[in-house]
């Protein structure tokens, strides 16, 4: 089992060791497994424009997550507690936005952003990331609210609380673990995005994944730097996703399968 894990994770481990390998050793065969680790690639990244792209990724992912939660959580609560006309249509539309290929949104957004001067802005990315984050929040939070007992809402009403007060003071605190998990998933999906950022940004609002790919395309084949950049992009993802691994499948299948 351990051997299988090592084989499966080989591509991943190889990239990690490349990021701290001196450039002269990178394409030596047989590979030198005992080498003096170097921080040179990370230092080169730090001195270039890469920190800006990491900052852009962080700001955009955090903002879109926050917005999606503020708008989506109350909606999820309402869908969990009340019956609406056209509920089937709403559910279908949420599923459809999760399933649609990204290019279906990219084409119109590209054209509209050209007119609104939103190309290559962080705001532009925040808005397009809402297309998948809002559906994710509504879908995931709805099942978390379904799991919190209604009788607690009703008890709050008897004590004279309004629906909104009951929601804020009773149901919401109970759903905190769900909100945390949902927030992390939104952040990860935004952080991991490549396609939208590739097309909608150029230089100013460029995100870390696009910046790494630019090393590949424009700066020749500086493998050490590429590996170091990739490592910086993947580290937060690895940490956060292991925190929410219980909810991963729910998040990935949101829209068709209840989390």
């Amino acid at each position: 089992m351990a051997l299988l894990a090592a084989v499966v994770l080989f591509p991943f481990l190889w990239l990690l060791q490349m990021s701290v390998k001196p450039t002269a050793d990178i394409n030596v065969f047989p590979p030198r497994l005992l080498f003096t680790p170097t921080g040179a690639h990370y230092r080169a990244l730090w001195e270039g424009a890469f920190p800006v792209s990491l900052w852009n990724s962080t700001v955009v992912s955090a903002t879109t997550t926050l917005l999606a939660l503020c708008v989506g959580v109350p909606a999820a609560f309402a869908l969990s507690r009340a019956r609406f006309r056209h509920e089937g249509a709403i559910a279908f539309w949420i599923l459809a936005t999760r399933m649609a290929p990204p290019i279906a949104f990219t084409l119109p957004y590209f054209l509209i952003y050209r007119h609104l001067d939103l190309l290559d802005t962080r705001l532009g990315l925040v808005v397009i990331y809402l297309t998948f984050n809002l559906s994710l929040v509504i879908w995931m939070m709805r099942s978390f609210f379904d799991a919190t007992p209604r009788s607690l809402d009703e008890a709050a009403w008897i004590d004279g609380a309004s629906v909104w007060q009951g929601f804020v003071r009773v149901t919401l605190p109970l759903a905190t673990p769900g909100i945390t998990a949902t927030a992390i998933l939104c952040f990860l999906f935004s952080w991991n995005d490549f396609f939208f950022a590739l097309i909608l940004t150029r230089t100013r609002a460029i995100t870390a994944p696009v910046a790494v790919v630019n090393f590949l395309n424009y700066e020749g084949w500086e493998w050490g730097k590429i590996a170091a950049g990739s490592t910086l992009v993947l580290l937060p993802v690895l940490v956060f996703s292991l925190l929410v691994r219980k909810y991963l499948v729910g998040g990935l299948t949101a829209g068709a399968v209840r989390a």
């Binding site: 649609a100 990204p102 499948v249 299948t253």
Partner: protein
């Protein structure tokens, strides 16, 4: 009194839902309408006058029907989807069964096996670019040292697509394995015991008891992978750029090229809508499958 209260509650619920509906309409519905409208024009970014030219609304679609490159992309897509989904189902089933063994060590390993799936897709693509680039690939050097040199896969017409399939299977195998594992956890012990008491051998239990039980979970996992395989982008962009020639140019990638390499946004919108229609059909099937057996998990 009671009625008035209930009315007020309903109003609150509606107010909670409303902002989401407005935002969804603005960020998803409006762009979709725009996409449909664009697909009815011959929009070419290098000729701005084409933006509002609705004189031949079906022009792009007529063109599409006779576009060999489009049909080639559909065929490439079919091969890619069939390859990835088949291997992910078989491999995911095997890995899921392996990980279902109850031991502390195996359970600790489960997390390790999840890693490929949670990595940023672009990083996965870069990892495989390293392995597929002969100059720096440890795999290429090792095979050469063993006297089995292999050609550069991603620039080879016969091997470029299988190379992408391998990377994609590696990335998403944990997903099907996880779905299998979740289904196995829900499996009633009695069925297994009954089969054992009847004297069934291990593989007979697997074939006649476990597999039929897992079938719906496998179908759902396969459909999910099928739908997502239509959106394949980072691997193709980084590894082959659709080439050599158009060997790995799936429909999604063809639409991307028409729009952002050649500026034909109108034609690209038509290709994209064809893609959206296919995805919707598959999603509809998925919902029916899931609905027919209630909610999984």
């Amino acid at each position: 009194m009671k009625r008035a209260l209930a009315g007020r509650r309903d109003r609150t619920y509606t107010l909670c839902l409303l902002p989401s509906l407005v935002v969804l309409a603005v960020v998803t519905l409006a762009p979709t309408v725009y996409l449909v409208a664009t697909s009815l024009t011959p929009l070419d970014l290098t000729r701005p006058a084409t933006a509002l030219d609705f004189s031949q609304p079906s022009g792009n679609y007529a063109l599409l029907l006779h576009d060999d490159r489009f049909w080639n992309s559909v065929w490439v897509q079919a091969k890619l989807s069939a390859g990835t989904v088949a291997f992910q189902l078989v491999g995911g089933l095997a890995l899921g069964l392996l990980l279902a063994v109850r031991s502390g060590f195996v359970e600790a390993c489960r997390t390790l096996f999840l890693i490929p799936m949670v990595l940023p897709p672009i990083v996965v693509a870069i990892m495989w670019k390293v392995l597929y680039t002969p100059d720096i690939s440890p795999v290429h050097s090792a095979l050469a040292a063993l006297g089995l040199p292999i050609p550069a896969l991603i620039t080879h017409p016969d091997w470029a697509l299988p190379a992408i399939v391998i990377a994609d299977v590696w990335e998403w195998l944990p997903f099907t394995a996880l779905m299998v594992l979740a289904a196995l956890k829900m499996m009633p012990e009695e069925a297994l015991e009954a089969a054992r008491i009847d004297g069934a051998a291990g593989w007979q239990v697997l074939r006649h008891v476990v597999l039929p039980y897992l079938r719906p979970a496998l179908l759902v996992a396969g459909l999910f992978r099928l739908i997502d395989s239509v959106k394949a982008f980072p691997l193709i962009y980084i590894l082959t750029d659709g080439g050599p020639g158009t060997v790995t140019e799936v429909t999604n990638y063809y639409a991307f090229r028409q729009a952002f390499n050649f500026s034909y946004l109108g034609f690209s919108s038509a290709i994209t809508l064809a893609l959206v229609a296919a995805v919707f059909l598959l999603s509809w099937w998925l919902v029916r499958v899931v609905g027919a057996r209630g909610d999984v998990e």
